[in-house]
């Protein structure tokens, strides 16, 4: 086909429809057949989730329990009705793409998305064959229309998976750039800080400020310079750690120890309590230093979300050969419209945030072949955010 003949203004969806030759006749055939499908919508959807929930790997994408399943079932029923009724226009495409992105967000592996659509395909086609048995030409055309629209659905879903992959790549590139900057600037700042530090050392000697001697006001300011230099050095160390992307050196460690290391690194205010619900014998094979960084970042965020007051609850349980940690706070929770971006480097909702904390968490977990995510809020939770770490 001569590409020059294709008008350049065709949208992604129009090009797809053009490719599978899906047209208004197909839409009309599906609409005609809808009354037959309608009574079967609920059983088809129930069967669909039955298949996911009885499958060990596919089930992992559902973290919100029965409430989430019910919500998802209702979404799928609407999806199925719209599939048949159309109109198969741009707003249809936008809506389908949003649903696809939701599957990406809950990390449903694409192979299950594929096989799940096929389960629906089989059910719908058998309805066609059973009900249009007396009208072979119409049966054939309706079946073909169904095949085409379901292929379009798959293509849209795959496009959303591709979008997510591209966004992850951009995030990785961004982090690499930040890494180069951070390494350069970090090392450049080490030297001036080293001069300040050693000058403070010399000043203490020259002014006879050792062992509590000397003018208290001079001592106070010398101490301030020294402690602020230490703080600046710590910031540089954190940045360099992010930039280095060190592979984890795993060791079997008690889950409680990892959490406690995180608590002590977070340096939380006394008004924040960390409650642990962790089997004292539970071991995890992780880089304890890196995982402590993950938990300290989650605890610092939780503490800030709660305004420096309240309880952070950490639980852990074995899931297959991994361990699932849940960190729950009593803050306002994460707004839905930003939830999918919070792990992106340099993305922050805080006035004084750097957007490094959660992206460092994600990077550390990826290096551990684990995951970190925000759990959907369950109906009995009126507030708060729950982060789920699988490692």
């Amino acid at each position: 086909m001569d590409e020059a003949q294709v008008p350049p203004q065709l949208s992604f969806f129009e090009r797809l429809k053009d490719y599978v030759r899906f047209n208004d006749n197909d839409s009309a055939l599906l609409l005609d057949f809808f009354p037959v499908v309608e009574p079967h919508v609920t059983p088809i959807v129930d069967d669909f989730y039955e298949a996911i929930l009885t499958h060990e790997d596919a089930r992992k994408a559902i973290t919100g329990g029965a409430d989430q399943v019910n919500r998802l079932k209702n979404t799928l029923k609407d999806w199925l009705r719209e599939l048949m009724k159309g109109p198969h226009d741009e707003s249809y495409f936008d809506k389908r793409a949003r649903i696809g992105r939701m599957h990406v967000r809950i990390a449903l592996p694409q192979e299950y998305m594929f096989t799940a659509i096929n389960r629906i395909r089989v059910r719908l086609l058998s309805l066609v064959y059973e009900n249009l048995i007396g009208d072979p030409p119409r049966s054939h055309r309706t079946a073909t229309a169904l095949e085409k629209i379901l292929d379009l659905e798959l293509a849209i879903m795959l496009e959303t998976y591709r979008e997510s992959l591209l966004s992850a790549n951009r995030a990785a590139e961004r982090l690499a750039t930040i890494g180069q900057f951070a390494t350069g600037i970090g090392h450049e700042l080490r030297n001036p800080l080293g001069v300040v530090e050693s000058s403070v050392f010399l000043l203490r000697q020259r002014l006879g400020l050792q062992d509590g001697a000397g003018d208290p006001k001079v001592v106070k300011h010398i101490d301030r310079i020294a402690s602020e230099v230490r703080r600046a050095n710590k910031t540089i160390t954190d940045l360099l750690e992010l930039a280095r992307n060190r592979p984890p050196s795993r060791q079997s460690t008690l889950a409680t120890t990892v959490v406690e290391l995180g608590v002590s690194a977070a340096n939380l205010p006394e008004t924040i309590k960390v409650a642990q619900d962790i089997d004292p014998g539970l071991h995890v094979s992780v880089d304890a230093g890196q995982m402590a960084q993950v938990f300290s970042n989650l605890f610092i965020n939780a503490s800030q979300a709660m305004g420096g007051q309240g309880t952070i609850t950490v639980s852990a349980k074995a899931v297959g050969n991994k361990t699932e940690f849940r960190v729950h706070d009593e803050g306002p929770g994460v707004a839905l419209d930003v939830a999918h971006r919070i792990f992106e480097p340099l993305f922050t909702t805080k006035a004084k945030g750097t957007g490094i904390g959660l992206s460092l968490c994600r990077r550390i977990l990826e290096a551990h072949e684990g995951t970190i995510g925000l759990a959907p809020r369950t109906s009995h939770e009126t507030s708060g955010a729950t982060f789920v770490v699988l490692v």
Binding site: H187, R190, G194, V195, E197, S198, L202, Q205, V229, R244
Partner: protein, 139 residues
């Protein structure tokens, strides 16, 4: 109390002159006689003039690096111990410094007390003993 470090000459090499001078001043305060060079090349020009008992050098220098300076000194027959300070403390950097013959590697920012302790140790135990002690177990 000033420790009995007199007559111990220490050469401090860092292209960040202020840092080298501060370190030298701190060493002088501890009773050492410290001299400053801002590059490996300047250090190599300085060693025939004065006798030194130890070297403290930055890892990264314009021209020859700290480890290259240590290798060059050894090739010229100078046997005094050396300490490398480095802003990079990844295993490769540390291994590189030890392979060149550094007796100890200290991270930047330099903890002054740790540096003074390490210096005293390499001066007292001698280069060879310190060399074995400070090397990674696998080498």
């Amino acid at each position: 109390m000033v420790p009995n470090n007199s007559h111990r000459r220490i050469l401090v090499v860092d292209d960040h002159t202020e840092l080298a001078e501060n370190l030298a001043e701190i060493l002088d305060g501890e009773g050492y006689l410290a001299a400053v060079a801002e590059s490996a090349e300047a250090a190599l020009a300085r060693v025939p003039v004065d006798e030194f008992h130890a070297l403290i050098t930055d890892f990264r220098l314009p021209g020859k690096s700290g480890p290259e300076l240590i290798t060059a000194l050894h090739q010229l027959g100078y046997g005094f111990p050396s300490l490398v300070v480095s802003a990079f403390t990844d295993p490769q950097t540390i291994a590189q410094a030890h392979e060149a013959g550094a007796n100890a590697v200290l991270p930047k920012p330099v903890d002054i007390k740790a540096l003074l302790a390490a210096l005293q140790q390499v001066l007292e135990t001698g280069a060879d003993a310190a060399l074995i002690k400070q090397r990674p177990a696998h080498s």
